[in-house]
């Protein structure tokens, strides 16, 4: 085994493995768990192992991300679970609890402990805990290239001997060492029952032995292998374990008493409290280990380049301007860079619509054609057109996260966040909220304190999400001059952020009062992310977005198409008015004299018509628009829109906007699709006025901005409401979020619309 491992250790590509007689040993798939610190490159290892054969879900009951995947080594099938990244298994945060429970539950043939080779000291203490758990371990020294560049040299053979399990050096993002890792996993799976070589000193060892004997022999405590861990946790007075043991009846109660006695003895004898004492033993073991295996120490200031960057980006005065600059760059790349591909998609969708329309004879009124072109292509196409923006935004966010800049941003922002009762770590979910509220709300799980988490979750929809981007891309150019657009967009985001802070502050002062959670955050060295890692993240997010577009949005688009089309009106009032002579249609010859004038209506009306009558002279196009409008008013959606119009009128909105707002609850971006469908009604795609021109014609900039404010603040989409309910565990919070934000939006839009009326 040693020899093979050494051969494979630095190889990227596996030698062809022929199915041998041994394959029969591995008919059952090997179950593997990946454990490690955050920033250890655990996810890179997971991706390198499983490639595309993975899926992302959630742990039952909680919403910490659960990544599972599989790979083949030889004939063996390996199922891999990527545990949440934690610094210990102490169970203080939801992640730590899950990692602990998952590992205690057992059943994993192999646990791969992923450590960052440049922080061996701290990382190996975590490995000690895994050893204590009795896991069948493979130690994966990731980022070994970085450690070597720093001058660190290790005696791997010695390390393996001392630990008693295989040690593999890897560089996950370049795929180095992955085959050796797979092989080691296979070998360990075949030869289980490890002898723990953890040396924690006589005092602790004896105490644990005595406690182990007292533990009730029940399945709930995780079987033989788990006893050492349960004893340790009990000695450390861990609440979860204590309750677990307590539930085992009288014998459990006795064990707890023994643990309490042992603990006070140790504390009295050593003068240290138990937590410090145990950590001291772990660090002692690791120090001894490293003294034996580190053949060359890394140089003192190995992070010199990273430190120089931090001297600027983390600088007390320069840090924030650079942060603002970086944020600006992110938005610039997202919006400016997205323009050209958006044009292509628009053109493509138009062509598709036209070619589908061409399948039907000219002038025919087919329901199917209308459904395809006006419902599906117009709806979904209107969403996909913003995909470039979303891809670019997520690319930027993934880049910032993978380089390590996000942690610096949290460092810079914490004081400010803290003023408003938020945690510096809230910054990362909030920033992700610019992408999509749903994963961002899920990301609030990194906050250990329940109140911090709820506060962040509740205000998170105020971060202008990627789905609202299509709305901004529609409304901002429609109402603002090209030179103003970037500024207005910036203002939209800033208003959202400012409101989120104010609301967070109010929440922490009222219904979510309480203590702050610890802010102890690692600042890993800057690392250049691989294009593949950024690409993977970008595609993963984009795929989630598209799935939403493909399912929810398609369904809603069709529903909207139905709502806007049925019931159909047979006899239009405008036709009756023309027949009755109340409205005159301008002859097409007259209208054709000056097409520009025709568009403005009354310009081509015969001079004999008196001023008061001119409103009754219409072009055929205007008659058609009247018919469409009547058709809409008659349809179900028009009726709902009309029903709520009195409520939204004080904000400057008409019933059409009302219909769009209703649609936005399904998904924010549906607002755009809905507006598209509504304004395309009844017309061929050739005659369809550009939506933006239509909006510009319909509403003033004042209404436009009032609408922007409303869309920014109000009514998180149904997915957000659903995820908030799931994350907070209560409908109450989700409804508070929904109702509260909508009410605030109403007040703000109302104030803006009416106050601005005095100035404009």
């Amino acid at each position: 085994m040693e020899k093979e491992l050494n051969q494979l250790r630095h190889q990227t590509i596996a030698p062809p493995k022929n199915g041998s007689g041994k394959s029969l040993d591995f008919i059952k798939p090997i179950s593997v768990a990946l454990a490690g610190n955050p920033n250890s490159g655990k996810t890179s290892i997971f991706n390198a192992l499983t490639g595309l054969r993975q899926h992302v879900g959630n742990y039952p009951g909680v919403t910490v991300e659960k990544r599972e995947g599989e790979y083949k080594v030889g004939n063996a099938n390996c199922k891999v679970l990527d545990l949440p990244g934690t610094y210990s298994l102490n169970g203080y945060s939801p992640e730590e609890q899950i990692a602990q429970k998952e590992l205690l539950k057992g059943g994993y043939d192999v646990v791969i402990a992923v450590v960052d080779s440049t922080t061996l000291n701290r990382s190996l203490v975590f490995v000690c805990q895994l050893m204590q758990l009795g896991a069948n371990l493979v130690l994966c020294l990731n980022m070994s290239d970085e450690a070597k560049k720093n001058g660190q040299e290790l005696d791997l053979k010695q390390l393996e001997t001392l630990l008693g399990f295989p040690v593999i050096e890897t560089v996950a993002h370049r795929g180095i060492g992955m085959e050796a890792l797979k092989l080691a996993v296979q070998k360990v799976a075949a030869n289980k029952a490890p002898q723990s070589r953890l040396v924690l000193g006589d005092r602790l060892t004896l105490a644990l032995q005595r406690l182990c004997e007292k533990l009730p022999r029940t399945q709930a405590l995780g079987g033989t292998e788990g006893y050492a861990w349960v004893a340790m946790r009990l000695l450390l007075d861990d609440q979860y374990t204590r309750e677990l043991v307590q539930a085992q009846g009288k014998q459990g109660q006795e064990a707890i008493e023994v643990a309490n006695r042992l603990r006070s003895t140790i504390e009295a004898e050593t003068g240290d409290d138990i937590a410090l004492f145990v950590m001291g033993r772990y660090y002692g073991f690791v120090d001894g280990l490293l003294r034996e295996v580190v053949t060359r120490q890394p140089v003192e200031n190995a992070r010199i380049v990273s430190d120089r960057i931090d001297a600027i980006l983390g600088h007390r005065l320069l840090g924030l301007p650079f942060f603002a600059l970086i944020m600006y760059a992110v938005f610039w790349i997202t919006f400016k860079g997205g323009e050209l591909p958006m044009e292509w998609i628009k053109t493509g969708a138009d062509l598709l619509g036209k070619s589908i329309s061409a399948l039907w004879p000219v002038g025919s009124d087919s329901v199917l054609r209308s459904l395809l072109v006006d419902g599906i292509i117009a709806g979904v196409g209107g969403v996909i057109v913003f995909l470039p923006n979303i891809l670019l935004l997520f690319m930027c966010l993934a880049f910032l996260e993978d380089t390590g800049y996000m942690a610096r941003a949290a460092f810079l922002m914490d004081r400010l966040m803290h003023i408003f009762g938020l945690h510096g770590r809230s910054f990362i979910p909030l920033m992700s909220g610019f992408g999509c509220s749903v994963p961002a709300i899920m990301a609030t799980r990194t906050l250990e304190n329940e109140r911090d988490r709820l506060t962040t979750m509740l205000v998170l929809p105020l971060m202008s999400c990627g789905a609202r981007l299509p709305i901004w891309m529609l409304l901002v150019p429609a109402f603002f001059a090209p030179t103003q657009r970037a500024g207005v967009l910036w203002m939209i985001y800033m208003i959202g952020i400012a409101l989120a802070f104010v609301l967070a502050f109010l929440l922490r002062k009222t219904i979510l009062k309480g203590e702050d959670a610890p802010f102890v955050m690692e600042l890993p060295p800057y690392r250049l992310p691989t294009a593949r890692a950024v690409f993977n993240r970008m595609v993963e997010r984009a795929w989630l977005y598209l799935q939403k577009a493909g399912t929810t949005i398609l369904a809603v688009s069709i529903l909207m198409w139905v709502l806007t089309r049925y019931p159909q009106k047979q006899h239009f009032d405008i036709d009756a008015a023309v027949a009755a002579g109340q409205v005159h249609v301008i002859e097409s010859a007259q209208a054709g004299q000056t097409s520009q004038a025709a568009a403005q209506g009354s310009a081509t009306v015969p001079p004999s018509v008196p001023e008061s009558e001119r409103a009754n002279w219409l072009t055929p196009e205007q008659v058609e628009l009247r018919r469409n409008s009547e058709s809409l008013i008659f349809s179900a959606s028009g009726r709902i829109g009309h029903f709520i119009e009195p409520i939204i009128k004080p904000l400057g909105f008409d019933w059409k906007i009302g219909v769009g707002i209703l649609g936005a609850f399904a998904a924010k971006e549906v607002f755009v699709a809905q507006m598209g469908v509504m304004y395309a009604l009844g017309g061929d795609s050739e005659n369809t006025t550009d939506l933006q021109t239509a909006l510009k014609g319909m509403y003033t900039a004042r209404v436009g901005f009032s609408l922007i404010l409303f869309m920014l603040i109000a009514t998180p989409c149904m997915a957000t409401v659903a995820i908030t309910r799931r994350e907070s565990g209560k409908w109450g919070w989700a409804l508070l979020q929904f109702g509260g934000l909508t009410a605030i939006a109403y007040v703000i839009s109302f104030s803006f619309y009416n106050i601005s009326g005095f100035f404009i």
Partner: protein, 272 residues
């Protein structure tokens, strides 16, 4: 003073060998007054003290007398006389050819006697400086301890003390250490629980380095600090502060982390 000691170091043989030989001869004649633990080249403390007083008097008045020595040392003139006689046996004092002297008779040091006295006296002055000026002992306690210690230190031990004093006086770090220590002593005296060089990480300035002595608090925050490698005896350096001074950015052996003021207050360090 340091020059003297250096000189002594470069040519110690003459003085020490002579003293050694004298002690050997002395030990034969005066065995009862010599404890076994004494180093061969050392004089019994009473003799050294007497020699020192003779030296001081001789330096000031050219000559010394039993009367004056006894008065200065607050000792019995008879005993003092015996001690001076012992010095004479060792050839360290010169009675001017007389076989016996009276209490009022003047006498001086021989060349060997002066060398031995300088050696003893410089030790005394060095220790006095150490105790009084550096370790901030009250002068009476410093004097008493210097007197007691000057006889029991050997040449090597003395050499290290000299080097230490040189370090403290001639380097800025040394001066800072002494300053901090004295403030610490002062704060201890005024009844504070921790002195100036026992402070929390929150009190460190950007760029300052310290050793963790204690991680306070309980539960989640403390465990996280321990998990991140903040253990007693680890070196912690404040790298920088965030724009508003909080949180802070610290460097440890195994990486860099940021902490809020509240957490950093739980980490007690000492700057040494």
């Amino acid at each position: 003073m340091l020059n003297q000691s250096q000189k002594k170091e470069t040519e110690p043989s003459s003085v020490e060998s002579s003293v050694e030989s004298s002690v050997e001869s002395l030990s034969e004649s005066l065995t009862e007054s010599l404890p076994q633990s004494l180093n061969a080249h050392d004089l019994p403390s009473a003799l050294e003290d007497t020699l020192e007083t003779v030296y001081l008097l001789a330096r000031e008045h050219k000559v010394a007398s039993i009367e004056k020595i006894a008065r200065i040392r607050a000792a019995n003139p008879r005993e003092t006389l015996q001690l001076v006689e012992q010095l004479q046996v060792l050839g360290l004092v010169d009675f001017g050819g007389k076989g016996r002297i009276n209490n009022s008779d003047s006498f001086t040091l021989t060349v060997d006697g002066e060398k031995a006295a300088i050696r003893t006296f410089s030790r005394h002055r060095l220790l006095l400086r150490l105790f009084e000026e550096i370790l901030a002992m009250p002068s009476d306690i410093a004097e008493a301890n210097a007197c007691a210690m000057e006889h029991s230190l050997n040449a090597e031990g003395m050499d290290h003390i000299e080097k230490f004093i040189e370090f403290v006086r001639n380097t800025s770090e040394g001066a800072r250490i002494v300053g901090d220590f004295q403030k610490f002593i002062a704060s201890k005296k005024s009844g504070q629980s921790s002195g100036l060089n026992s402070l929390s990480v929150a009190e460190l300035k950007a760029g300052e380095r310290a050793v963790v002595t204690e991680v306070r608090g309980r539960g989640a925050i403390r465990q996280r600090l321990l998990d991140m490698g903040i253990m007693p005896d680890t070196v912690i350096k404040v790298e920088r502060r965030a724009p508003a001074g909080d949180p802070i950015w610290v460097r440890l052996q195994g990486g860099q982390i940021s902490l809020r003021r509240k957490e950093s207050e739980a980490i007690i360090v000492t700057q040494d």
